[in-house]
Symmetry: C2
Amino acid sequence: MTTRQLHLNAFLMEAGHHEAAWRLPESEAGAGLDVRHYVRLAQIAEAARFDSIFFADGATVQGSGEFRIAGQLEPLTLLTAVAAATERIGLIATASTTYNDPYALARRFATVDHVSGGRAGWNIVTSATHEEAANFSLAERPLQATRYERADEFLQVAQKLWDSWADDAFVGDKERGRWGDPARIRSIDHEGRFFQVAGPLNVPRPPQGYPLLVQAGASEQGKAFAAKHAEAIFVAHQTLEQAQAFYTEIKGRAVAAGRDADHVLVLPGIVPIIGDTEAEATALARHLDDLRVPEYGLRQLAAFLEVDESELDLDAALPDHVVERTHREGFDSRSRLVIDLAQRESLTVRQLLGRLGGGRGHNVVIGTPVQVADVIETWFTQGAADGFNVMGAALPSGLEAFADTVVPILRERGLFRTEYEGTTLRDHYGLPRPANQLDLVGADVV
Amino acid sequence: MTTRQLHLNAFLMEAGHHEAAWRLPESEAGAGLDVRHYVRLAQIAEAARFDSIFFADGATVQGSGEFRIAGQLEPLTLLTAVAAATERIGLIATASTTYNDPYALARRFATVDHVSGGRAGWNIVTSATHEEAANFSLAERPLQATRYERADEFLQVAQKLWDSWADDAFVGDKERGRWGDPARIRSIDHEGRFFQVAGPLNVPRPPQGYPLLVQAGASEQGKAFAAKHAEAIFVAHQTLEQAQAFYTEIKGRAVAAGRDADHVLVLPGIVPIIGDTEAEATALARHLDDLRVPEYGLRQLAAFLEVDESELDLDAALPDHVVERTHREGFDSRSRLVIDLAQRESLTVRQLLGRLGGGRGHNVVIGTPVQVADVIETWFTQGAADGFNVMGAALPSGLEAFADTVVPILRERGLFRTEYEGTTLRDHYGLPRPANQLDLVGADVV
């Protein structure tokens, strides 16, 4: 193919991204706890030739109170199960640099990359919530600036560890009894502010060199980190203009950091709600919204904005002091996106919840397959996206509908692959395999 | 079946437990890096109705220097891959309480237990080496006493987290919009010396309640921990008398700790080297020993005993000061086992290496299938073992030989199952499902 190609990631979440999707008659309420559900979703995405699937993560119970407390399986464990049931699709999971150790995590991603034949991707997060800190023996959550400094050093250590074996370090010379070449495996002796790590890693260099590095925070710190390190960026935008501004900014910052703009792929989230007709799509969206429990949404929103529920009135606008509070340091950029949406469209809290319930701030597109494909093509061709993070409102039905009806239109328009051309996740995204940064010839060996 | 039944665990390691197994013509030198190798081994063990498979672990490169540097895949990642390719066999992996956080690890084992339908087991280790400390930002390895105190609290936190969801906490009531029952999910608010953890876990209670708890250290601290917590113990003994003494001691200590002696299963390691005739078995053992590289073994032994290579002479006994050094605090009980073996049999270092190369201190049994079965029956019926940790010298051939020739004899003698009777790992080992220790009625909820 010669024309620029779209990239599609399937963001998998329980019975769907819409908060009420699990209540649909056809849904499995406990889908989030069932590995077979995720295997099935990954197989649907692979059959449609998606670049990758993705599992988000956070080390706390999602939701609280009367209406919903969702358990969640550990995503790297899920990735391996999905790897065994698929052949080509990329496998991306979130893992925190604040609540992991680099040796252990580098090793786990290296293992997933080996087990999957080069299909691992790591969505790097710094874990903003108080609740996570309280699960990891911290009295307070670390400041955002500290978290990103740690993330930077964490990634540096992980890359050194992946590079601690040359690609040809494993020899397997039975005749001479040489399993590995010690001149091609070395310590890293990292001494930093957060970590002191001797190395080498105890896993050979991953097939991809490094797993694909993904990032999803859109705060100022997050963008700085993404411009420097990320190869794919998951981001939430409500409007084309916002998405274009972000796209231009992040590509510019990547180039300023000495990187190739094509090696930083921007994938906005899209929640497609698809019907054969516009009326059908709208009816499906309305049906999902009717299944929402407003009190659950209110509690979620209050927790998200870090205010007490009693400060929010379902039938009034967000109070000014709440809006101002979210501009403090430490707040996720997603909070500001929510505030912006409420202000831009003058929404009451109830209306805001309706807009958020379907996609937590991501772009919900309700329409026919052609209408959904049009939005994708517009964003893709008008400097807003290199592809999309496809978030089925209900799963599997939303992913199936997208694969069956939107993907063929994208193919007709020459925008999306009909077959995989490579075998690794980096191949699918058109990203280079990183060279080993350590000089392993003549280096001190273990 | 009415007679007491043997338990068999297949301890899987790369191309085999013999250090030179990877050099056999039929071996895959890079087997340790190939998930398909482990899937095949697990399927062989499952077809033979083994209770479980087991992956050991350590967060350092194994071996050093010219002759061997073995990479190793991360074992919990491997477990999931094996879970997907098997149906009934138990899945045990080592994980360290010194270099993990309880929230993250409790969650991973809970996930493996969910994904496998109740087949997860956790071999709890405290990680004795300097090298691991140096990979986890510690200037020194923690003292053994500190490590075990941490292990104790770690396990306590993990159990609270697994108990933080009642077994019936997930409701899935679509009609009322109640996903979970908040009165059946609660915080743990653990405040201890090492950990402060709010909880609840973000994974529902594992199918087994807790994963099977396994322990493998035979130091005084290790035995105290095992008597209190372990449900299965992997241990190394060279003689029936040693094994009987350990068995009697550990069962007595478990009873003294208020536990049922039948709920602490003792599984000594056995490295069977099997031939149709004794001469054939001896020839296979000799062939493997001839493939050893003595300099590699010497380096390993020096590292193991924490002495300089230059202090060891291949053709002399272990020097006295080396023997004495290993009695200091912090040394693994395995070191003392090696020293005892050398002294009991008056071995030179070279002879000692020959004895260790095949099984790292475990009992190497060279003989016909009947001879191997006789040793197993003797140990099993004479108060030394509840089953065995079967360590194929070469893999898969050693496991295949055991499954094809020894297992049928054990069945003829009425000692081993022909079919699984339950579905979980606890079922196979005849161990109860732990009750939830938290009172979840009327408790403070999240």
